[in-house]
């Protein structure tokens, strides 16, 4: 048992330093993995120190809780497919928010009315923010896991209802702070905040989910920090706030990569009403042209420059290894192959980099959007593998389109475009793509992996 508060404080300080170094390293490609290990070390120090505090008991409960939580965490994180990582981040973020809210509830119960003002304020904040983060993250998880529709869900007067629910929770918080310290009020506050979390995420379309998860991640950080004020724990205050601040900045950076403001993401119900207004019209004389793997193989083999545009479809089909194989075959035939990486292709920023790196695609072939866009004009074939919204020219030209203004990959500037897609269904944002009606575009329907495997044998035979 450690009874000297100075030693406890110093050990917590070491943990804090670990977290700061961890964040610093996580922002650099070369040291990111080391960064995660250093963060892990900090966490072990913080937890061990807490367990050794004077007076800690209920060991059986603690042990069972730790074992259960670890089982959930390990199984969740290790068995899930690489494509499902984003929703796992949402899920683990949500449980953290839930933990913060419950800690606040338990402290409120324990102290039973004997509160200093700053403590009750922190308790209310921790409960409010933690509960929003919990329910909001669960909805984000359900959307990405496609348990509920990824499309925006809206109803009339929704904003009004949201404001009323959040307002109600805030008023309850104010009543608690004013001195009416009834536990019922806190329960009601938790329920209202959870309701707000659900309604606040539900209207947001799946394509915007990364930004929302990042925001909820910052929320959980804030909730943890508030919990730190309740418990007078510096390690909670600092670590929680570090996440609150860096998570906020990260949210802004992600929104910027999509050329959208955070406010726009949260309140515009992405693609809700206009979605049907600007799709390809069947009666304007243009049609979608389907093609075969053999034709595509010939086109690719005799091209000088091919740009591969990977998207979520490639990730779902786990086709990245086959795509690399196809690219290598083409390079042997003297074709210049590059990959165009849209910052938000897939479900998360950096999703494509992760998958292609896993498939050992050389880094110098991965081009960022600003780098590759001028090159499409000199490209013979743009091979779009399961990407949709990030290639939609409506983002450039159609002011009525819900994705208007989002920077896209200018695949339509290349001499020809081949789109590999499972069906004509619209993408995650729920809007149609004009690109498919372009006379330069041909479609190769089917599962991305099957199609690429067929292409490989067809290219070998060419």
């Amino acid at each position: 048992m450690i009874s000297d508060p100075d030693i406890v404080g110093l050990l917590y300080l070491v943990a804090i330093v670990c977290f700061i170094v961890s964040l610093r390293f996580l922002a650099s490609p070369r040291r990111a993995r080391q960064g995660n290990w250093i963060g892990g070390l900090g966490m072990v120090i913080a937890i061990a120190t807490t367990l050794a505090l004077d007076g800690i008991g209920n060991w059986v409960w603690i042990a069972i809780g730790a074992v259960l939580g670890s089982i959930v965490g390990v199984i969740g994180a290790r068995t899930v497919k690489m494509t499902a990582m984003p929703q796992m981040v949402a899920l683990f973020n949500g449980v953290g928010g839930g933990a913060a809210a419950l800690v606040a509830l338990a402290e409120f119960h324990e102290a039973a009315g004997a509160f200093a003002t700053d403590v009750i304020v922190s308790t209310v904040l921790s409960a409010l923010i933690g509960s929003i983060s919990f329910s909001g993250s669960i909805v984000a998880f359900a959307k990405l896991q496609e348990l509920v529709s990824g499309r925006p869900t809206v109803f009339a007067g929704q904003n009004l209802v949201n404001v009323a629910v959040l307002g109600g929770a805030v008023v309850l918080g104010a009543v608690l702070v004013a001195g009416v310290e009834s536990e019922w009020l806190l329960w009601l506050l938790l329920a209202l905040a959870a309701g707000f979390g659900v309604m606040f995420v539900l209207p947001i379309g799946g394509a915007d989910m990364p930004v929302v998860i990042s925001l909820l991640n910052a929320f959980t950080g804030l909730a943890a920090s508030a919990t730190g004020f309740v418990l007078d724990s510096t390690v909670l205050i600092v670590s929680g706030m570090l996440v609150g601040a860096s998570g906020t900045l990260l949210t802004l950076l992600m929104a910027k990569a999509m050329n959208r403001s955070v406010g726009n993401v949260l309140f515009s119900a992405f693609g809700s009403v206009q979605a049907t207004a600007s799709g390809p019209r069947a009666d304007d004389g243009r049609t979608v042209r389907a093609t075969s793997p053999d034709d595509v193989a010939v086109q690719l083999s005799f091209a000088r420059k091919v740009v591969v545009v990977p998207g979520y479809g490639m990730a779902v089909a786990q086709a990245q290894h086959d795509v690399r194989q196809l690219a290598e075959l083409l390079e042997e035939k003297g074709v210049d192959v590059q990959y165009a990486i849209h910052p938000v292709a897939g479900r998360m920023p950096g999703h494509m980099n992760v998958l292609l790196a896993e498939a050992n695609v050389p880094y110098d072939q991965l081009k960022e959007m600003s780098e590759i866009n001028p090159e499409f004009a000199q490209t013979d074939v743009a091979l779009v593998i399961g990407a949709n919204d990030v290639t939609n020219p409506a983002a450039r030209s159609d002011t009525g389109s819900p994705i208007y203004g989002m920077p896209i990959l200018d695949v339509d500037h290349s001499a020809s475009v081949i789109v590999m897609k499972r069906s004509m269904n619209p993408g995650f944002a729920g809007i149609d793509n004009e690109l498919y009606l372009d006379p330069k575009t041909t479609m190769l329907f089917g599962d991305a992996k099957d199609s690429v495997v067929k292409l490989i044998s067809a290219v070998k035979a060419t």
Binding site: G57, G69, A77
Partner: protein, 102 residues
């Protein structure tokens, strides 16, 4: 708790805000997702709060609530760390280890 403690806590809170912004200000796009996952792991520190509440609990209600918080907080820590590590493993097997394009 004395007022001086509160002021000190608020001071470090404000410093942590500035530090949080500063420390990740130059992150490349491809690391956005792993970094989000890494920060997701770090706020799992809330498990420390769960341990304190559960460890000091002396009635059933607090024990039950603290226990659930303990499970959730541990899942946040363990799951958050492994998800981040799995994402970053992908970056490790690069063919050109010396090329740092940050």
């Amino acid at each position: 708790m004395t007022d001086i403690t509160l002021i000190i806590e608020l001071t470090i809170l404000v410093l942590a805000i500035f530090l949080g912004f500063e420390v990740i200000s130059k992150v490349p796009t491809m690391l956005h997702t792993p970094l989000m996952s890494g920060t997701n792991f770090i706020h799992g520190i809330v498990v420390v709060g769960a341990i304190i509440v559960l460890g000091l609990a002396d009635d059933t209600f607090t024990r039950v609530v603290g226990f659930v918080a303990m499970v959730l907080g541990t899942a946040n820590v363990v799951g958050g760390w492994f998800v981040t590590d799995r994402m970053l493993q992908m970056f490790k097997r690069r063919p050109e280890p010396r090329k740092d394009d940050a």
